[in-house]
Assembly symmetry: C2
Homo-oligomer: 240 residues x 2
DNA sequence: ACGAAAATGGGTAGCCCGTTCCACTTGGTA
DNA sequence: TACCAAGTGGAACGGGCTACCCATTTTCGT
């Protein structure tokens, strides 16, 4: 699914040139900690929290990554590679419709596997230039994918690239709500959306089973308190 | 759409029996402030914020509504009535399929109109017993609605009540991400989902136009900082 | 091995949140 | 009208997060 690199490559990206050995080691620990925290709790985890988890001073974290965006950038660089790679891979599929559906599923699966990444895909941080380049790359590939799938007669003509954005937002909502109690719920959403995208003649994977009602219900009551945080992605709640 | 009560009934529910006149007035101001803040910023607005907006001491707020859930309960009681009423109304429609689609659209519209309500519908607070009763009521009506629509041959047999929950979660995600920059985006999602629910023969409303790409993009870059809050609905970010 | 530069982490200060306490004000009644 | 209890808001407290400073430790080239 992600032919590029191992899920968590031990040597992250470029080891950042002029860094002393111990500094580089700490950088790595910070990235690892942030990756774990972001994956399970979404972005919006406090910097202090990351530093604590990495067992590193707050100052060290600030020195290495001055802003939250910078950290996010570094953390999700490789995931973004995988994201772009998925589009290229889909484009390589001789069957345009299968490439299209495979891509949709792969991307949504990435969101489901990493709540932080789901946030990254639905709201982009202006500062995330490195990620932005990859996104643009994937976007162009996706446009081509759409054209081919429509030409093949399996994708409806009224499908637009914006629909992918909408799907990602919708999927992020489902993932955020169900990740803990019924983590496969998103599959049901995706298979239904594919039905909506397909022309009557296109063949579709069988509809995924909905989660057990009790599991979904537990997903809904999971949060006792709405969480001051941000849970994932919201705006400043204070009316300033 | 909501035949029950005026959008913001001046006299909220029962004026709470044994309260002094001024206390009741303050209660009202708190509810009004909370309603406004929740609607625009989602749940997760701080209690202090509500007190400030209501121009009331923090202590007063705490005394009137001891917990956040209590406040949310009171704020959304009437919205929940409208929610239940919508199901009843849909059930009254002689055309089961039109009742079904109308209900879906009405509920999603409610979510779009009030971000706080979107949160309420996707994650229920255990304490919200009053709301829970209404929810159960609506749920039963919806089950009947499903059965009739399926019997009419327009709703696919594999549609289940859980699909509504999934749709609500998905819609909440879209609404949360686009409310500011492209507030009609949710309509596109809903019309596509209805396509997925319908049997080939069913007639569907025309597909809503997707938002302009630039508007969607602005929606995505809206948030410069991921927001420590919760934006809307997430869990405690601190790893405690 | 030694010393300068790099790197660290604890500490402080400022802000916001939620909770609780308490002296003061207000309302309704006798 | 006068009084007492209900009600109020400000202040204080504890906790978390961010940003910043600086004394101490570690690394690495010589």
């Amino acid at each position: 699914m992600t032919p590029t690199a191992e899920p968590d490559s031990p040597a992250d990206r470029q080891p950042e040139p002029g860094l002393r050995a111990d500094a580089e080691r700490n950088r790595e620990r910070i990235l690892t900690a942030a990756r774990r925290l972001y994956a399970s709790h979404g972005l919006g985890v406090s910097m202090a929290c990351v530093a604590r988890e990495a067992d590193v001073g707050k100052a060290t974290l600030s020195r290495r990554f001055a802003t939250r965006e910078e950290l996010i950038n570094a953390v999700f660089a490789d995931r973004m590679d995988a994201y772009a790679a998925a589009a290229a891979e889909a484009l390589a599929d001789p069957d345009p419709w299968r490439g299209f559906t495979g891509y949709i599923e792969a991307v949504c699966a990435m969101q489901a596997a990493d709540r932080g990444f789901a946030d990254v895909l639905t709201m982009t941080f202006p500062a995330a230039k490195a990620l932005e380049a990859r996104r643009a790359e994937a976007y162009n590939a996706f446009l081509e994918l759409i054209a081919r799938a429509q030409a093949s007669g399996h994708l409806r003509d009224d499908f637009t690239a914006e629909d992918l954005v909408i799907l990602l937002m919708a999927n992020a909502g489902v993932v955020a709500a169900t990740a803990d109690a019924a983590p496969d719920t998103w599959r049901r959403l995706v298979s239904q959306m594919l039905r909506a995208y397909a022309t009557p003649g296109a063949d579709l994977p069988p509809l995924e089973q909905p989660p057990a009602p009790t599991a979904l219900y537990r997903a809904m009551v999971r949060l006792t308190r709405p969480a001051p945080d941000t849970g994932g992605a919201a705006e400043r709640p204070d009316g300033r």
